[in-house]
Symmetry: C2
Subunit: 164 residues, 2 copies
């Protein structure tokens, strides 16, 4: 079981978009060049973010993506769910109700105990993701990355788009 690459990509993108000046956007092509990932595939992942309202899109020449709301109001859980879907990680097929021991007229507990146990763990995972926001990521990066490197990245992002 593994999360798709889109999760890592979109989280990085959200953190980067959060540092943009107001009213600015970044195109999928430019973002893909910045991270050296397949442009078309990254665009597909960003579509999912746009569909759930995490990022807003500006179409046409000079358009691109920007955060739809403040970074502090975007939980990591929202991004993960947007890309990976909202369905639970553990799917209960109710095998307890199958087989010879499950004859007609048999009653079962409303929810399978195993499904409940897995759901508890999953709830802890979701709670941890819900407690962290994109703003936290930005804060962490601004603490870890040197100012020189931030300046360099910012300069590249502001260069003409023909260099991509």
């Amino acid at each position: 079981m593994q999360l798709g690459e889109g999760v890592e990509w979109t989280l990085h993108v959200c953190a980067l978009l959060a540092t943009l000046p107001e009213g600015t956007t970044l195109s999928a092509r430019r973002l893909a060049a910045f991270y050296d990932v397949p442009p078309a595939y990254l665009a597909k992942q960003l579509q999912a973010l746009a569909a759930t309202g995490i990022v807003a899109t500006v179409r046409g020449r000079g358009g691109g993506y920007r955060l739809a709301r403040p970074a502090a109001e975007i939980a990591l859980l929202s991004v993960v769910e947007a890309v990976e879907g909202r369905e639970p990680v553990f799917r209960c097929a109710e095998i307890r109700q199958r087989g010879p021991s499950a004859g007609p007229g048999m009653t079962f507990a409303p929810v399978c105990g195993i499904a409940a146990a897995m759901a508890r763990a999953e709830a802890a995972w979701r709670a941890a993701l819900r407690a962290q926001s994109v703003a936290d990521l930005v804060a962490g990066m601004q603490r870890d990355v040197s100012p020189e490197q931030r300046r360099r990245a910012r300069a590249w992002l502001l260069t003409s788009q023909r260099s991509g």
Copy 2:
């Protein structure tokens, strides 16, 4: 992202094996019949459990599987890791170090902030799974399932193996 069916199957199997009398075993064929799942595929999942020492195997006629240690000492995390693998759910490809902004001589934080955030969530998930044991599953089932149904299932499990 979804866990394989093997997780649900093996958890049910562990809970069932925990209720067996000492010195008894259940074969993969019999377990598959009990839950109405593909026998060969269930056997494959049980191999993973045997490889990590969760269940012990008895080969030859009349053999089968039994728990290798008390149910209270088998955390759900052990079962999940045995079937799904120990690799982290979120894989960090270090895309922060790629692209044009990552020139030579650039230094990065020891761990990516995004990877750290995802690791925190995953740690919460693992902790919740580690805090619950197979014995807890058994206790929950004995509380929810009616005695009549338990008797019926037990009777089926003790019947001759030719009826499979």
